[in-house]
């Protein structure tokens, strides 16, 4: 009999702490599949953020470290500069990256660091109980924008994939999502491309994933999937904003 589906080898038997319908779990599994398929387990170091994925260092049989809130790109810089031939993956939420760690991600891009960054944009602070993030949509109700995010007090959502595409130090920037099976497949392709680029000395590779947070959004998982289509994609369009073919090696 041919095996057509199995649990990725790299996974430990630790249960994840994610809620049902959460995008983190889907992306974590895609990462595990790629690590198996690309044989990266013994060649890599995973750098995790502070946020709902804080325990992910326990999910993979791989060398791993959880960074301080927002500092994963700086920590990863120290790791990758020491081990330039190893695979280094940085994983960050939107509060982690766009609020607490905006300087660190921007300057990792400025320096054209040769690592891959996976950015989980769920337009909210999941872990701390559903507060407003810089990526929260205008009018979106959160526990710190109880009347909906207003421009007058909180300004505008931040489009990271587009910003990163404008940085000369970034070789690849694409926005994907995981709310349909086809889009999950596309997300895996994007992650694979980002991982492969690490070894081409072209700089930072960046994948933004629009990720449902049913708990933080106060929605059933199915409605959270719909909200990605109806509310997030109009503000955060899917697609590649920079292709690696356009970028020469450093």
């Amino acid at each position: 009999m041919k095996t057509i589906y199995k649990r990725p080898e790299v996974f430990t038997d630790v249960n994840t702490s994610y809620c049902g319908g959460c995008g983190h779990g889907i992306v974590n599994k895609l990462i595990a599949e790629l690590i198996d398929e690309m044989e990266l387990r013994e060649k890599g170091i995973l750098v995790w953020p502070i946020g709902c994925s804080v325990y992910a260092d326990k999910y993979y049989k791989m060398d791993a470290i959880c960074a301080l809130h927002g500092r994963a790109p700086a920590l990863a810089t120290g790791i990758k500069r020491s081990l330039p031939d190893k695979f280094v993956m940085v994983y960050q939420g939107d509060g982690d990256m766009v609020s607490e760690g905006m300087a660190e991600i921007m300057h990792a891009a400025v320096r054209a660091e040769n690592f891959s960054v996976i950015f989980i944009n769920n337009a909210i602070y999941g872990m701390t109980g559903g507060q407003m993030a810089p990526t929260t949509l205008l009018g979106q109700v959160t526990s710190t924008s109880p009347y909906g995010r207003a421009v007058a007090s909180s300004g505008y959502p931040v489009n990271m994939a587009e910003i990163m595409a404008n940085m000369p130090g970034v070789c690849y920037s694409e926005r994907v999502t995981v709310n349909t099976p086809q889009r999950i497949t596309a997300t895996k392709k994007a992650l694979k491309k980002a991982f492969e680029l690490q070894f081409e000395n072209k700089g930072l590779s960046f994948v933004e994933v629009l990720s449902p947070c049913p708990t933080g959004w106060g929605k059933k998982p199915i409605d959270a999937m719909k909200m990605v289509d109806e509310q997030l994609i109009p503000i955060y369009p899917l697609g590649a904003f920079k292709s690696p073919e356009e970028v020469p090696a450093k």
């Binding site: 013994e42 170091i45 049989k61 060398d63 700086a74 790791i79 081990l83």
Partner: protein, 348 residues
């Protein structure tokens, strides 16, 4: 031991760190520490070093944490305002057991303050400027020669205990030039089985920085405390000068120890029995240096409003016999000024 050269403190320190096999440096320019990153930048190519000027000290301290996590010798150098920004990573490195070395060149605060000599960051370095129950080893040299030797010891101590170590310098030591005999090359020689290098042929390593319930996190903290107790028992360093027959004992470290030494000489010439305790390790504080000196009078002198004096009071049996004299804002008192203070105390 090698050749004798006339070098500035910061430059001698950087060269000595390179000779200790520290090939990684991440830093952000700030007076009076900038000659250290400049030296690394200049030597990067010929010595095969990795030098990165980070965007902030927040980033640089997290970068050294990253390189330390891979088991390589790594360093940053900064001064008060930058050291403040680095504190989250100091706490982090203490938790994760990361052996990075931080050179902190004190200048007078608070805020951006001045760029002259100071010892106002003693509390921040010694008591742990970041959050949580942790300690960092702190070594304080008083000459360029000693700075060269201690910076090499910093790497060994960091690795021995898997803990960040601070070399506490100040603007005077950093900028002065002295004749030094540069130490020889010293390569890393320690167990690195814990490091993140990709888990080829071994079980994967995960560094602990986050808790998982009170029971686990209390145990983690108790283990840390056990390590700190071991450091306290083993790593006190000090030098005592003419303390046996002394009636009054000066206590001073770093640049101030040089001034105190001058004051002690003046006092001895005038027939006063004065000695000096010079702490070299500030954490652990050298409690043993005070053994047998219980009934003496102490004059603690610092370039601060009185910080180390608290540790002296905690150490000696009669804290009413501990006096303090300090200067602020960048002033360094002369030996004569300290001598005048000694005379004011009188001799029993």
């Amino acid at each position: 031991m090698g050749e004798k050269v006339f070098l500035q403190g910061n430059v001698a320190l950087a060269e000595s760190a390179i000779r200790a096999g520290c090939k990684y440096f991440f830093g952000y320019p700030i007076t009076p520490s900038s000659e250290v990153p400049e030296y690394y930048a200049r030597k990067a190519q010929e010595e095969g070093l990795v030098f990165v000027q980070g965007e902030t000290e927040v980033a640089c301290f997290n970068m050294i944490a990253g390189t330390a996590a891979t088991g390589k010798r790594v360093m940053t150098a900064t001064a008060g305002p930058g050291f403040s920004l680095g504190q989250e990573a100091m706490s982090y490195m203490a938790a994760a057991g990361l052996p990075a070395v931080v050179v902190e060149v004190m200048r007078p605060g608070p805020a951006d303050g001045e760029i002259l000599a100071s010892q106002g960051d003693y509390f921040q370095a010694v008591k742990g400027g970041g959050h949580g129950d942790y300690n960092t080893l702190v070594l304080a040299p008083c000459s360029v020669q000693e700075m060269c030797e201690l910076i090499q010891d910093c790497f060994e101590l960091a690795e021995k205990y898997r803990n960040p170590v601070i070399l506490l310098s100040d603007a005077l030591l950093a900028k002065m030039r002295e004749n030094v005999e540069l130490p020889g090359r010293k390569e890393q020689n320690c167990d690195l089985s814990w490091a993140l290098t990709g888990c080829a042929g071994r079980k994967h390593n995960v560094m602990t920085t986050c808790g998982d319930g009170a029971a686990q996190w209390e145990k983690f903290n108790l283990d840390l405390q056990e390590k700190f107790a071991k450091i306290k028992a083993n790593e006190e360093r000090w030098e005592n000068y003419q303390t046996e027959d002394a009636d009054i004992i000066l206590v001073a470290y770093g640049s101030m120890a040089r001034v105190a030494m001058g004051a002690m000489k003046l006092a001895r010439e005038a027939g006063l029995k004065v000695g000096l305790v010079r702490p070299i390790s500030l954490w652990p504080f050298p409690v043993k240096a005070f053994e047998g000196l219980g009934d003496k009078t102490f004059l603690v002198t610092e370039l601060s409003a009185g910080q180390m004096v608290e540790d002296v009071k905690l150490t000696v049996p009669h804290k009413e016999n501990v006096y303090f004299y300090g200067r602020l804002g960048g002033f360094v008192p002369s030996p004569k000024e300290i001598f005048e203070q000694i005379k004011k105390l009188g001799v029993k």
